[in-house]
Structures are given as structure tokens and as C-alpha cells.
């Protein structure tokens, strides 16, 4: 019974950056451990804003976000960091830290005042680097890496926080096909093998449909559909979401058809 409990739950979320221009108009959202959820929708539909509300960065005007049955804004910044981690769209470091040091920065909320890392922290960081296959360039700095490698390093850093929930904002949108696939495979493994609730904002319908357990389609601050990929990938639903004609292409080795905008 416990495993089906929603770890992250948001009800009737409303948010506006400026009065009178709502970005979220009553969004319901839930996420479970062990599931990869992808949030999709056209630009300006409120995906990133939803993500920011979920991570407690923005205070919604209405509704509430519950993390483990407690309001996300009630957690201290440090407490929250031990439960929830975030991976940005573009990996960046203003300082010339190596990948290994960046991953260790993820231990901030688990360490003391000076953030001195001990054996356990190093073990956690190492496991995170093994999982993300970043150990081979652990001694290099971010600007010596390709975009794909840098994004893997950022996922390793988030993983070092040992979170229960991982939020990713378009982690693969600027990567090549091979790296996109690698990132989605990694997110799926984080959900299925590491039993995290993984939530990813995405623009790639096909990759999301192929790897996610659940898809959420947004448009103009509302959720249009929320369900398993095979239920969501339908011509009428996608046409309404993106405002384009959609062709579905059946594939023999995939339960979900591919989509192509006409």
C-alpha cells in the first residue's frame, strides 16, 4: 500500500507572475516513487512554472504542493534539498571545479557548517558518478566536456543529494540524438532501479512516450491529459495540445506509435 502513495502532490495550483495574466490555472499533479513522469506542452504553457512551484521556488497564488504530505514551502531549504533535487536545462559552473568536485557540491545539505565531506559522502558521490558514467572524466572541468557529458555530470550532482524526487527541466533539448537517448535511459533507470520519482519537462514527444511511465500534457496553464503514454498518444489529444495536425506512425517493436507533425 505504501508504494503507491504519491510522494509529490499538487492540487489546483494557480500562479501568475503578473496580476491578471495567469500562467497556471488550476493544475493537478501527482507523482510516485519509481515512476518517470514527463510534462509536455507548447512553449508558454506553464511547464517550467509548474516545475518551479513543485520545487518550492515559486509560491503559488492558489493550491498547495505537498511533498511527503507536508507543504513544500514549510521545509527548510536544507531539508528540502535532502528530498528533492533539480537539474537545469543548461549545465553551468562559474568556477573551474572538476566534475568530481561538482558532484560533491551535491552533498551540501548533508554535511556540516564547512561542508567538509567524509567517507560516506565520497561513497555516495562515487556511486552517483558510476550510475551516470561520469567517473571517466571526473577530473575534468565542465567547459572541457561535451554538452551531453556536462548534463550527465549535473545529474550525478543531483543524485549525490540522495533525493526521493528528481526534477529535470528539458535536460536533453540541446543534445544530439545519442545523448538524448542516454539521458532518457538514465532517467528511466533512476525511476525504476533507484526508486525515485523522476519528473521531467520535455519537448520530445516521441522520447517521452517511449520512456516515461506517465505523461502530462499542458496547454495555456491547464492540464489537458494525464495518463500512460499509450492513452495520451492520440491524434486528437496531441493536435489540441500543440495546435498542429498529427500523424501517428505505428511501429512493430513499440507499444506506442511515433508521432509526426504534419
Amino acid at each position: 500500500m505504501k508504494s503507491v502513495e504519491n510522494i509529490l502532490l499538487a492540487g489546483d495550483l494557480r500562479f501568475a507572475y503578473r496580476p491578471g495574466q495567469p500562467v497556471l490555472r488550476g493544475v493537478n499533479f501527482s507523482s510516485r516513487a519509481g515512476k518517470l513522469t514527463c510534462i509536455l506542452g507548447p512553449n508558454g504553457s506553464g511547464k517550467t512554472t509548474l516545475l518551479r512551484c513543485l520545487m518550492g521556488r515559486l509560491r503559488p497564488d492558489g493550491g498547495e504542493v505537498l511533498l511527503k504530505n507536508k507543504a513544500v514551502r514549510k521545509y527548510s531549504t536544507r531539508e528540502l534539498a535532502r528530498l528533492l533535487a533539480y537539474v537545469p536545462q543548461f549545465p553551468a559552473s562559474a568556477q573551474a571545479f572538476t566534475v568530481h568536485e561538482i558532484v560533491l557540491l551535491g552533498r551540501f545539505a548533508h554535511t556540516g557548517a564547512l561542508a567538509l565531506t567524509g567517507e560516506k559522502d565520497h561513497a555516495v558521490a562515487r556511486a552517483a558518478m558510476v550510475m551516470t558514467d561520469t567517473l571517466r572524466f571526473a577530473d575534468r572541468t565542465l567547459d572541457e566536456l561535451s554538452g551531453g557529458e556536462a548534463q550527465c555530470a549535473m545529474i550525478a550532482r543531483a543524485l549525490a543529494q540522495q533525493p526521493k524526487v528528481m526534477l529535470l527541466d528539458e535536460p536533453s533539448s540541446h543534445l544530439d540524438v545519442r545523448n538524448q537517448l542516454a539521458i532518457y535511459r538514465m532517467m528511466q533507470r533512476l525511476a525504476h532501479d533507484w526508486n525515485m520519482a523522476v519528473i521531467c519537462v520535455s519537448h520530445d514527444v516521441n522520447l517521452a512516450a517511449r520512456f516515461s511511465d506517465r505523461m502530462l500534457l499542458m496547454r495555456e496553464g491547464c492540464v489537458l491529459t494525464d495518463g500512460r503514454p499509450e492513452d495520451v498518444i492520440r491524434r486528437d489529444v496531441l493536435a489540441e495540445t500543440y495546435d498542429v495536425q498529427i500523424d501517428l506512425i505505428e511501429s512493430p517493436d513499440s507499444p506506442v506509435p511515433f508521432i509526426r507533425a504534419r
Partner: protein, 337 residues
């Protein structure tokens, strides 16, 4: 390469921190002793004492400015940020001059008035520069530097105005202070004054060290830092107050000495890498040693050239100006190739 970086050499552990502190403290004391013995052939006990006092003041000022520079560069992710460039020093300077001018008719004792007014000036300047440069909680690095320039000019005008108001006979000590000099006769002879400023710098230094890891995380961007457990907004406010306090102490002791907070952190970064915990420690000690040596050279040059005192602020400005331009040009190259 091997598969596992066990604990890399530049990684900070508790033991390495203690060793680092011990080595640097020893080096700073050695530099102070060496500097104190340079000069006249026959050294009197009282001369040596006066020199040690002056060197202590130089060390306090150097440590304050360099570690404040480390903190501002980390906080603002801007390699050009430092108390002088951002106008914080000149804000503290206005406060100090007001303290000098008002010395007769303020109820507080002298050792408290000047640092307090300097602190108020520095805090007001921080607030002003920050509110000019920030939009929706984001800081544009170039707007920040420009607002520093403008606030500097503004504070300079106020200082000149105060010059006009004071009696002519105090002007020479004013001028000396405004050039950034550590002299043996004025303020530092007062124990209470030295203790106030030294205590403020020591406390601020420790507080910056404790925020080093947060500065490291901030390099990954505000949003990532927040999700890693850093209260970004609070960190900004706290750091500005700490930096204002340390700058105020430094300016009250020695006038607006520029560019120490720029040169020293950059050289330290080349040596110890980007970790702000190490930079806070190494930068503080290096700043102390840098200013002790620079001040001693100024003292020696002054007596050799028979022109009396050479303010150390002139030396740091002459060397810091070109350094700033060099960093600025490199930064421009990064932004627009």
C-alpha cells in the same frame, strides 16, 4: 587514467584545513617580523613596537579587503567585484570623514564613532548599489560594476564637500587618510580602535569562511544552488552585511585602499583553485602579507627618498588599475569572442 579519484590533493578535509591555517599563520608572523626589522640600523624597542602595531593594522586591512573580495566575487559570480570597485570603500570613507569632522560634538567615544559611521556608510552604499543593479532578484554583472562607478563618483563628491567644511589645519591628515595610508600616529595608536576594527575583521572572516561552500554551490546558478540547500537570498543579504562590516573596519583604519580585493584573490585562485573555503583562508592571509610587505616598501621608499610617508593606497592603485583592465579585457573576450 585510473578509475577512482580517491581523495584528490586539492580536496579540503578537516585535517588539511588545520594544517593550512597553521602554515599560513606561521608565514604571516614571519613576514611581520621580517618587515618590522627592515629600516634603520639601530632599532629601538619603542620603534619596533610602533612598527608592529602598524604592521598589525596593515594585516587587518589586507585580510579584510582580500577576503571581502573573495566573498563578493563568489557571491556575484563576477571576477571584477571587490569592495573598492563596487563603491563600498568610498561609502565607508564618507562615514569616516564625517566621523573626523564631527569628532568634537559626538557623544560616543572616538574609537566607536568612526567605525560605526564607516559601517553605516558602507551598508548604505551596498544597499544603493544592489538596488540599482538588481531586477527581479537577478544581478546584471555589468550594471553592477557601472553602478559601483557611479556611486564611487557620488561618494567622492561628498568627501570633497566635507573637505571644504573642515578647518584648514586638519586637511593634511585628511589628505593622508584619503590616499590610503597606514600611519603610526593617528588612529591605530588607540587600543580600543584597533580592537574594534580587528575584532570586526576577524569575526567577518570566520563568517565568510563558513559560507565558502555556499559560494561554491552558487557558481552552479541560483536555481541549482537553492535546490542544493543554499538559501540564496539570505546568503546575499548576509554576505553584503559582512563585507560592509569588514570594509568599514579596513577603511576606518587605513582609508580607501583599492584593488587588494581584486589582485590577491585572483592570484590565490591560480594557486589553490576555485574552492571558496580555501580561498577565504588563503586570500585573507595572503592579503595580510601583501599589505604588510607593500606598506613596509612604502615606509622604506619614503625614508630613502626623504619625502616622508608614501601612502600604501597609491601603490595598490598603481598596480591594481592595470590588473583590473587586464581582467576586464579577458572578460570581454569571454562574453563576445
Amino acid at each position: 587514467m585510473t578509475d577512482s579519484p580517491a581523495i584528490p590533493a586539492r580536496h579540503l578535509t578537516g585535517r588539511r584545513l588545520v594544517i593550512l591555517l597553521a602554515i599560513l599563520a606561521g608565514a604571516a608572523i614571519a613576514v611581520a617580523l621580517a618587515c618590522s626589522l627592515l629600516g634603520e640600523y639601530r632599532l629601538m624597542w619603542s620603534t619596533w613596537q610602533a612598527r608592529m602595531l602598524r604592521l598589525t593594522a596593515a594585516a587587518i586591512v589586507g585580510a579584510a579587503l582580500a577576503s571581502a573580495g573573495v566573498a563578493l566575487q563568489g557571491l556575484l559570480r563576477n571576477p571584477l567585484a571587490e569592495p573598492f570597485v563596487l563603491g563600498i570603500s568610498s561609502g565607508a570613507g564618507v562615514g569616516v570623514l564625517l566621523g573626523f569632522a564631527a569628532a568634537g560634538w559626538v557623544a560616543l567615544p572616538g574609537w566607536a564613532t568612526t567605525p560605526l559611521l564607516a559601517l553605516i556608510g558602507a551598508l548604505l552604499t551596498c544597499l544603493l548599489v544592489y538596488s540599482i543593479a538588481q531586477r527581479h532578484g537577478r544581478l546584471d554583472p555589468f550594471v553592477l560594476l557601472l553602478s559601483g562607478v557611479i556611486v564611487n563618483a557620488f561618494n567622492g563628491a561628498i568627501m570633497l564637500g566635507i573637505f571644504l567644511l573642515v578647518p584648514p589645519r586638519t586637511i593634511s591628515s585628511f589628505t593622508m587618510w584619503a590616499m590610503g595610508g597606514i600611519s603610526e600616529n593617528i588612529a591605530i595608536a588607540e587600543t580600543g580602535f584597533m580592537l574594534t576594527c580587528g575584532g570586526a575583521v576577524l569575526a567577518g572572516w570566520a563568517m565568510l569562511l563558513l559560507r565558502g561552500a555556499a559560494f561554491n554551490t552558487l557558481g552552479l546558478g541560483d536555481e541549482v544552488a537553492l535546490s542544493t540547500g543554499v538559501s540564496v537570498h539570505r546568503l546575499r543579504m548576509e554576505t553584503f552585511v559582512i563585507v560592509a562590516m569588514m570594509t568599514a573596519a579596513a577603511v576606518a583604519l587605513a582609508g580607501p585602499i583599492g584593488f587588494v580585493g581584486l589582485i590577491v584573490p585572483h592570484i590565490c585562485r591560480l594557486i589553490v583553485g576555485p574552492d571558496h573555503r580555501k580561498l577565504a583562508i588563503v586570500g585573507g592571509f595572503a592579503g595580510a602579507m601583501f599589505l604588510m610587505i607593500a606598506d613596509t616598501l612604502c615606509r622604506l621608499a619614503g625614508s630613502w627618498l626623504r619625502i616622508g610617508e608614501v601612502p600604501v593606497g597609491i601603490v595598490t592603485a598603481l598596480s591594481g588599475g592595470p590588473f583590473f583592465i587586464f581582467l576586464l579585457r579577458r572578460r570581454f573576450r569571454e562574453v563576445s569572442p
